[in-house]
Amino acid sequence: MAETLLEVNNLAVSYGVIRALKGISFHVDKGEIVSLIGANGAGKTTTLQTITGLLRPVSGNVIFKGNDLTHVPAHKIVSMGLGHVPEGRKIFQGLSVYDNLLLGAYTRKSKAEIEENMELVFRLFPRLLERKKQLAGTLSGGEQQMLAIGRALLSNPEMIVLDEPSMGLSPLLVTEVFEIIKTLQNEGKTVLLVEQNAKKAMSIADRVYVLETGMITMEGPASELINNENIKKAYLGE
């Protein structure tokens, strides 16, 4: 059995009276790519935001590397080894590309280690090196997505959660971004990926969970679910 890195137990989250997550459970093992797929409003972003402390659950908990994250303040979670690439990228537009990356390493002290990570990011995304001094707000959508991923990598996370990395990108760029996610796995990162683009998400994932209106309705290895008739109809448009 592989080592479990992240465990989500009976997680329930509400926005006022609206229950966004109705008690979901799933886990991510070390070295895996796990995809959470589902339609708009299924609760995917809510799930990720609760994992990294931006939202607090009504009940249930999140265990990362054996630590309960439920009551850890959001700003302390990144230094525990959990990086979050938020929906819509949320890069700092008024800062340079380099400063955005540096902020990714905000909680780290060792200059040498930060420099090492910086090199890794520039190797993965040569475009960011070219535009190092440019204001992040002037980058194209695809470059901004790469910057958002690079920024998360600068915290040297063990696990990285990505929220809709393909949103608003051209098909060519979508393919590029998914190749990069695969590369992250080869670099030893564990990945939790939330996507509306189910086809792409399933193509690189090891396992898949299907989220529907706040509940997990299906789960299994990606290779199995990709041939499931219901999934084909609902998410793959076949």
């Binding site: 931006l54 938020p86 819509g88 700092f92 540096l102 902020l103 998360a152």
Partner: protein, 311 residues
Amino acid sequence: MDFLETLLNGLSLGGTYAIIALGYTMVYGIAKMLNFAHGDIIMVGSYIIWFTFLRLDCHPSISIALAIICCVILGIVIERLAYRPLRGAPSLAVLITAIGVSSLLQGLPAILDTISKSSNNSALKEKLSGILNPLPIQDMVHTNKLVLFGVEFPISISALVTILITVATMIALTVFIKKSKTGKAMVAVSENRDAALLMGIHINKIIVVTFAIGSALAGVAATLMLTKGTPASPSFGALPGIVAFSAAVIGGIGSIPGAALGGFLIGILETFCNANSALSPYRNAIVFSVLIIILLFKPSGILGNPRREKV
């Protein structure tokens, strides 16, 4: 009056407004709230300088340092007690609280006055009345013109120092925000709090630093205003506060060069109105009309840029 002299005096008055406007703009840009009590922190600073300098015979530099330190502490305490509990509350609630804090501070001298009148302790009475009846600090007013190499320049030493301090402060703040780690974290918090949290930035810490800087600027502003000969009073910071806030809005609130530009603009405008006896009674009306006109054409201020999210 000589045009150049009026312009330089305008720059000096504008410098004071700019320093106050910088305080408003820093707090607004990062904490996303209007600290209406900013002008009253200046007032507290002015009392501290007047009392330590004229009553306790402190060296002026000690008085000024004490005032800045007290303003910083006051700013941090206000943030902790009044504003932090309202983080995430509707902005109207925060605004009303800020106005409340402002009134409270303006009421402090009156509270001390009541204590002084009802007290039987004559030593305390004397001390309090020593604080409560401020005199203008003549020793800090240098109306002499600057003379260099035997040439008299059309600017007083106070005015020149004000302009220099304003420019130096603006440069220092810009460098701090652009180059230091804390400064970059401030930009991050100002742009997107959630994303800043994901970087591991402790939002409350950054907001405290912001209030500390803003309040230190209030202490500097108190000093500059006293050098113009105004005595401390409960309403010392109220009108300059409103004018400087308008300056920050004209320049583009949240923008540091904008605050300086707006401050200088209003200062010069006001000084020219004052120099003309026909216009001088209408100077506030003129200043605020210009504010309205600028905002009609550029609602986000001269240097403010309405940011759009790229999707």
